[in-house]
């Protein structure tokens, strides 16, 4: 599905995904993880990728089954290199208001894979894994 680059549209997608997770019996730990990773990836797409441009869209696809959820988020921006994002947990970056999204996506999902260009991310969370992607 394609959504406009607005926070309200992102919320509707998140709510739909969470409803599917609940329908498939995912627990609260998994639901929190997916909600967080989805929120972070959508924020990156809407704000950083598409620059909050209402004329640009974000493509969100998800597939939920009894084993895992797979989510793909893609924006229309020029992309970026995830490897060049500074580590937000080092002392000198702790007081920076932003830059934690990718850290959280990687910490809470079992798989996070960016396209070579960086404007598409695929995330996987297995239903019965323990918290924080372990």
């Amino acid at each position: 599905m394609q959504i406009p680059s607005t926070y309200e549209a992102a919320k509707q997608v998140e709510d739909a995904v969470l409803k599917e997770l609940d329908r498939h019996g995912y627990d609260d730990v998994a639901a929190f993880a997916v909600k967080l990773a989805l929120e972070e990836s959508l924020n990156n797409a809407i704000k950083h990728g598409n620059g909050l441009d209402p004329d640009k869209t974000v493509e969100v696809d998800y597939d939920v089954d009894a084993r895992q959820i797979t989510i793909t988020v893609a924006d229309q921006g020029g992309g970026f290199d995830p490897a060049r994002v500074p580590d937000p947990t080092v002392d000198e970056n702790l007081e920076k208001p932003c830059g934690r999204g990718i850290l959280l996506m990687r910490a809470y999902m079992d798989e996070v894979c960016f396209s070579p260009c960086g404007n598409r991310v695929k995330m996987v969370k297995c239903k019965n894994c323990t918290a924080q992607g372990l």
Partner: protein, 104 residues
């Protein structure tokens, strides 16, 4: 929001998603504009917060430093506490089990 002498207690509820961050940012900006000495964020009923919400809190923290004020957190739920630990923001903010202890 409740005022306790020189301190203000802000009670957070439900989910603090990216759409809510601007409201948080505005509330904290107003308090720091007034140089509120101590801002207590009561997270007892907060189920979820994302990095944008955390960023709003950090922005407030940076403003308090201009006048030697501070922000502290109260009783985050386990998932929110894990998030604070994952981001190492437990190094930046004092966390108390109750509002009373935060105000003491």
């Amino acid at each position: 929001m409740a005022t306790q002498g020189p301190a203000v207690v802000l009670t957070m509820h439900g989910s603090a998603r990216m759409a809510d961050a601007e409201t948080m940012r505005t509330a904290l900006a107003e308090l720091t504009e007034n140089q509120t000495t101590l801002i207590v964020l009561d997270m007892t009923d907060l189920d979820f917060i994302c990095s944008v919400g955390l960023g709003a809190i950090i922005s407030g923290h940076l403003r308090t430093r201009h006048y030697q004020g501070r922000i502290c957190l109260v009783s985050p739920k386990p998932p929110v506490m894990e998030l604070l630990e994952t981001t190492r923001l437990t190094q930046l903010f004092s966390i108390f089990p109750t509002v009373e202890q935060a105000l003491a």
